[in-house]
């Protein structure tokens, strides 16, 4: 499964969105789809657990969690850095 597909599953489970996640494109804005600040935090924690990563503080902002592809890109960046280290 691609990173984006896994992220999509986690968004469906933890995003508490009022709409079906299937109707949101990978680059669709999750906030305008109804993602609350608190749900975005739960999403962050669930993603950290799933991928066994920790978001650096510089990534803890709205932009990182604005869309499924933005989250997937952040996850890939962190994973690549962890492998390089």
């Amino acid at each position: 499964m691609s990173t984006a597909e896994t992220v999509r599953e986690i968004v469906a489970k933890h995003g508490k969105l009022p709409v079906d996640v299937g109707s949101i494109a990978d680059d669709g804005d999750l906030y305008s789809a109804g993602l609350s600040s608190f749900a975005s935090v739960q999403l962050m924690l669930a993603i950290e657990e799933e991928f066994d990563i920790e978001f650096p503080e510089t990534m803890l902002n709205r932009g990182t969690f604005a869309s499924i592809s933005a989250i997937a890109k952040a996850v890939d960046t962190i994973c690549a850095e962890q492998q390089a280290a």
Binding site: S37, F38, M44, L45, L60, N61, R62, F65
Partner: protein
């Protein structure tokens, strides 16, 4: 000695505040209270024509409303809840025995229906919700409460128990935002009238933990909170003496406050840190109120 401790000691020496032995918990002198009273009168006059009603709250709120507020999600480290002895004779003897021998006597304390109010406007929302839908145009409430935050500090401007005076606007999004912008402007005019050097800046609440970093960044990005900053014990880290907050429909939804059209209410508040503003006046104009600039005295004492 750092600037915070030195200013606090001066306030103690002059009898403006009195130490309790616990950081952040102080008795106030008559002179200190007089400044607070005058400032409140001044601010109340400014908003007089727009206020639907006034309320003053005790320093506690119901545990149920405290839970609804979501405070424990965001600021568990700052919260205080009220616990009390609810045992029998036997339990009382155990308690006295623990006290006499210096052991922890608080183990048997049980939760009550009360929490200490963490933010002055929280007790208002459930009252409004119980009344049913808001009138057309919403409401504006002037209120005041003692608040508690568990953050002991030598900084006299960071008390554990302090008062906030607030105006709260409850209506639609446009009304809430317009209210906040109006008070940002008025807040600066108030500081100018008090000859206090101040500026407004975007801010975030001290959300707990790593999740809090994200909530804080999000709050700043959305420009939901602004503060009026004044140097009291440090010019690098000035103190927020007022705050201007737009809560979107968070509280409207949490407590079920409906507008006249049935939609969840949007809320905004302006908060005046009464002790902080008073401390800023003492810091900038001196510890002798009689020697404060004539214009400042005229603003407060008329």
């Amino acid at each position: 000695m750092d600037a915070q401790t030195s200013f606090l000691d001066k306030l103690f020496d002059r009898g403006i505040l009195h130490s309790s032995g616990v950081d952040g918990l102080y008795a106030r002198s008559g002179a200190f209270e007089d400044v607070i009273r005058r400032f409140e009168d001044y601010v109340l006059k400014i908003g007089e024509g727009e206020t639907s009603e006034a309320m003053v709250f005790p320093p506690g709120m119901t545990m149920a409303d405290f839970e609804t507020s979501g405070y424990m999600k965001n600021f568990p480290q700052l919260a205080g809840t009220v616990h009390a002895f609810c045992g029998d004779n036997h339990g009382h003897m155990d308690l006295l025995e623990c006290m006499a021998t210096g052991k922890d006597w608080t183990e048997g304390q049980k939760r009550t229906d009360l929490a200490l109010t963490p933010a002055a406007c929280y007790p208002l929302y459930p009252i409004l919700a119980r009344r049913g839908p808001l009138p057309e145009g919403g409401v504006t409430v002037a209120l005041q409460s003692y608040c508690f935050r568990h953050e002991p500090s030598k900084d006299p401007a960071r008390m554990q128990m302090f008062r906030q005076r607030e105006y709260v606007r409850v209506g639609n999004a446009d009304e809430a935002i317009e209210f906040r912008e109006t008070w940002k402007r008025r807040g600066k005019e108030i500081m100018d009238a008090l000859h206090l050097p101040a500026h407004v800046d975007v801010a975030n609440d001290p959300f707990f933990g790593r999740a809090g970093k994200m909530l804080g960044a999000s709050q700043r990005e959305q420009e939901l909170k602004f503060e009026m900053l004044v140097a009291i014990t440090s010019s690098e880290n000035p103190t927020a003496c007022m705050s201007f907050n737009y809560h979107m429909d968070n509280f409207g939804k949490a407590w079920g406050i409906a507008r006249a059209d049935g939609e969840p209410a949007h809320t905004a508040c302006v908060g005046f840190g009464l002790e902080r503003i008073t401390l800023a006046l003492f810091r900038h104009h001196g510890l002798e109120i009689e020697n404060w600039p004539e214009a400042v005295r005229a603003t407060l004492w008329g």
